[in-house]
Amino acid sequence: MNYIPNIIFLILISFSVGFFIRNVKRIRRNISLGKSINRNDKRGIRWKNMIRLALGQSKMVSRPISGFLHVIVYVGFVIINIELLEIIIDGLTGEHRIFAPILGSLYNVLIGTFEIFAFLVLVAVIFFWTRRNIIKINRFWKAEMKGWPKLDGDIILYFEVVLMFLFLAMNATDSILQELDPEHYVKAGSFPISQFLVPLFENLSKNNLYLMERSFWWFHIIGIFIFLNYLYYSKHLHILLAFPNTYFANLNLKGKFSVDSNINNEVQMMMNPNFTIPEGNIAPPEKFGASDVFDLNWVQLMNAYSCTECGRCSSVCPANITGKKLSPRKIMMDTRDRLEEVGKNLNKNNGVFEKDQKQLLNDYITPEELWACTSCNACVDACPIEIDPLSIIMDMRQYLVMEQSAAPVELNSMMGNIENNGAPWPFSNQDRLQWVDE
């Protein structure tokens, strides 16, 4: 027997899984550069959120057209991956359709179902492509989508078209060979979609058919290996990270912004002369707010890797839709780009970050963007997987104000008023009740 294909397959799968694991480890390392934040409470609610939002896609369908198409692609992806299991076992053992004798007539149902989903995915992907490239839906053409992000979005769609076509073409040639060469091609499966491709291959010689079937089979699985490893370089990571991202999401009411307990001791000391710092309490932080990815917490960094740049956030952002520079999606993309840059720096320098005279603030995100935010939470509400761009904006504003005193002039006078007379306007506190007599 000839073991060469099995050995080639083993090498390919080992390399692609190995490379993928290497990149997953890098993502983990980069995310753990973030500050700690406790998101391990209320596990019941967290599991429910993950099942509802990531597995159940419940927020996707708030926009019915894209939501419906996405559900098709998502379900198709999950279902067709069952077939992947068989392909891998076949590849490693040299068998062909190893599940067919085990599953009997159920196998026919399964293959038929995979084909129908493959077809639905193809249709949905064509719709997606049309929405991006022909209808040119606004959110796919904003400033931050120029260049790689636009190409990335299209590449993913092309990948899916090619993979689905290869899967169907593989089945079409296989079904012909099942008639011509039953000895090698076990009669199994039902082919509700690929039967329509059969005329394309019918008149080929047995050898050519054999060559085609094998090519489709190999290109399909190699395509999947490539796609798997493309994830890390793409916005498409959301297919994995949506799950932890929804699990570890903020569970508080959206209006509750995090209160920095570290500076509470100092405030208490200023306000209350009898206050003594409780024992074991840590000193105030060396830096307030965030100017770089190291100052954000790990959930915010995971958010950045999870973002698939759909732009629902920016399409509802009051600042963005009125032409301001702020785009919540760009906040997430910038955070990821900076984090990746830091990651590459770590790779190069054996895990030690070598200062690069850059940071998230200014080099990626400008104060003008940050100051345009109304903190309305529309972006947070719109995200199908609970990404929170607002928390990053607020942390960066905190850095601007508390470390750099770099608030817009009007805000400085507003804060001066609060400090001096307890109101954002220059009115005396003694006049607070004047309205009663007016």
């Binding site: 912004f257 209160v259 009125t322 504003r397 104000v401 507003m414 109101a423």
Partner: protein, 260 residues
Amino acid sequence: MLNVPTLAQINAEGKKADILFWVGCAGSFDDRAKKITKAFVKILNQTDISFAVLGTEESCTGDPAKRSGNEFLFQMQAVQNITTLDSYAVTKIVTTCPHCFNTLKNEYPDLGGNYEVIHHTQLLKQLLNDNKLRIEGGKFKGKRITYHDPCYLGRANQVYEAPRELIKKLDAELLEMKSCKSKGLCCGAGGAQMFKDAEAGTKEINIVRTEEALETQPDIIAAACPFCNTMMTDGIKNKEKEGKVEVMDIAELIANANDL
């Protein structure tokens, strides 16, 4: 005559108030917002609920400082206010400003201030349910009213129904804008934007929101936040719809309906 006791007065008389009315800076100083404050007090005066204000002892909750990024100033304000509130053993607070409401309700607990905080539309709804408040519908019968969700009441705190139910009690026709409730568009004032000029862009946010409101062809735009009120009023002026479309707080609608 408005009856507005302060907690200091009530305390001196050895009495207690059911609820503290947190007036807020806009409600105390801004000419438009003062009318909302007064309308709300008139309604309270009509009921038998006992309330009090802090008066000169009230100070900014710190919301605009916090949204601007000044956590230190926010906490200074919070600690000062919590000291005042606790010195009167306040347990329940009502406020006509969703920003004060949000900060007192959600951010003070982490600094040791724990109170039951409700928005005035919630209190009015409650009084209505308990038959302590009657709303006369006649004046607004058949009027077209659209309601603008304040971000800090709606999305931030999930309060969508109380204001709407109050509007329905006026026998008015409640119209929903194309983005409403959890999808409601901001008026443009939140996150301390009220106190600064907007960054360069193609349009003002309040104009976009006003256009959405006008699409419903309303007689009245109902608001539940003094800042939203200002932004929408400015929007109406910009669209030269003054005299045709009014911007009114829910408290004003009810006070008006009840001839107060």
